[in-house]
């Protein structure tokens, strides 16, 4: 009798252990790639050529640099939210695909129904000189440690009447970060090589809520109204690609 009680106790403990193991094991360990494709309108972005029309005036422009900070990525699915730790990504397109991918591994989600992220940086990160994610106070994106980071950089030139004038658009300041949320209709099941693609339309930066004449506004740096104008435009430059 004693013996069988002991056995029953052991069986219960074992069952609990197994149960716990199965519960842990059943937490999925999925991966997801999120790819941002740089475009101007519908076409893949081209650098270093005067092929884009000034949206608000005369002339054609070229880009030599386009990049931005994307932070605080949240993936939502299965009624759960995954918040990526140290979620600070510098999205740049100086590669042959004109695309930038973020990879997420070990996700505790089976599917993704919503994606949320910030264009720019949160106030805490923007006033810190800590090295987290892609934050680097010795990088091109740092203005200096008293001002914080540039959130978005666009540099190039405008060709008008045979003359090239420089274009410098640096947008920063914490008030210009924009939280964006995207719903994925029917959700994306995280199996095999799940990938979510976004289009980033550079043209929207100058052709949105405000249509900008680059000849009149050749640079935006520390003027807060100008910076806000560009931020309101870039809030609409990213879309889910289907």
């Amino acid at each position: 009798m004693q013996m069988s009680r002991a056995l029953a106790g052991a069986a219960v403990v074992l069952a609990l252990l197994f149960g716990g193991w199965f519960t842990l094991r059943s937490d999925p360990d999925n991966t997801l790639t999120i790819t941002f494709q740089a475009r101007s309108g519908r076409d893949t972005l081209v650098f270093d050529e005067f092929v884009y029309a000034n949206p608000g005036g005369d002339g054609e422009y070229r880009l030599r640099d386009f990049r931005f900070y994307l932070s605080n990525v949240h993936l939502i699915g299965d009624s759960k939210t995954f918040a990526e730790p140290d979620s600070y990504h510098l999205i740049r397109f100086d590669n042959s695909d004109r695309a930038h991918s973020l990879k997420f591994a070990g996700l505790p989600l089976r599917s993704v129904e919503k994606v949320r992220f910030m264009l720019g940086l949160d106030a805490e990160a923007n006033s810190s000189i800590e090295f987290r994610g892609d934050l680097d106070p010795n990088s091109q994106m740092a203005w200096n440690w008293e001002v914080g980071y540039k959130f978005l950089v666009f540099e190039g030139g405008l060709l008008s009447d045979g003359e090239v004038v420089p274009l410098v658009y640096h947008v920063g300041f914490t008030e210009n970060s924009r939280m964006l949320e995207f719903s994925i209709p029917e959700g994306l099941v995280l199996q095999d090589d799940a990938e979510l693609r976004f289009d980033v339309d550079v043209a929207k930066l100058f052709d949105g809520q405000t249509i900008i004449d680059m000849a009149a506004t050749q640079s935006v740096k520390f003027d807060r109204e100008d910076a806000k104008m560009l931020a309101d435009n870039y809030a609409n430059m990213i879309e889910v690609a289907f």
Binding site: F47, N138, P166, V168, H170
Partner: protein, 373 residues
Amino acid sequence: MFRALIPLALAAALSLAGWIGWGALRSPNATPIVGFSAPFVFGRFAVPTDNPLTEEAFLLGRRLFYDPILSGANQTACATCHFQRLAFTDGQARSPSLSGGELPFSAMSLTNLMWGQERFFWNGRAETLEQQAVMPIVHPDEMAQAMDELIEELRGSRTYRKMFRASYGEISADNVGKALATFMRLLISADSKYDSYLRGDTRLTAEEEYGRKLFMAHPDTKVSLRGGNCIDCHSQFLTSGFRGELDGFSNNGLDPEETLPDGLMEVTGNPAHRGFFKVPTLRNIAVTAPYMHDGRFQTLEEVMQHYNNGIAVSDTLSPLILEADNAYGRAEDIVGLRLSENEMDAIIAFLHTLTDETFLTNQRFADPFKGER
């Protein structure tokens, strides 16, 4: 039965001892360097996993660096063109070439190489420091050494046999590059007045602080912000070029379109990189004259004059330089910062706070043969 086993056991013991001994010979038990320090604000760095920092490799690298045995005629060492007192530059616009005349580029300062760009030489032609280290050795105009001859010479030296055995195991071209790279990686300058200021231990003078503010600012007349625009290429703490991709290379307006040299384009083949050169660290800049990739400017005043009103326009000139102007309205024939004399003096005063006497005189980086001779 047991007797039969004894020779087997002996054989096993012998082969085990042999294996351990051979292993010890082949992979030296070098002492990892864990004690070096660098300011937190320098940020991330990477050391190749196949060339960890060890004390033995550092000592070997230092000896090789100062030893003319590395050159074909046994007369030129790395240190011939890189003097510690001048932050490992040579004070020449361009170093002399073995075949007469001058090399195309000025000898670069060797400081804080674990940070900043991960490409080396003015045009970025070396992708690792290990690769960089052996290129001047075999270059016909620099040290003109045949690598296999160098290996033979090193094998003939009892000291080098011992040092290579202790650090890498064998004497090889790869290990020469690795040892030199280790020595150069540990040339860390982090004790200037600016570092002391960053640690909160020292205050800058009013002029230095004014210069620091100008250094860190891109001018914006729309909000009445004046700036020297240095930070658009030289990072705020390291003062070197940026690390990511090719961010640390730029065309800073030295030459017009017609005479613009290839620069980084020679390496990438991309016409958008024509006239781009590696942005150097400004650490110890006050002792590394003359300036620029070809040493064309003798003084920091000349450098400031260049950025102030001497910019030559070309197609790949940085728009950040073309656009940075402290005066209202475009000038007819001047491209530059248009700062006042006082403002330029202040920036130069700040640049002098980057001189690190500890680094320039640190015996650990000095010629090891001096004590032997």
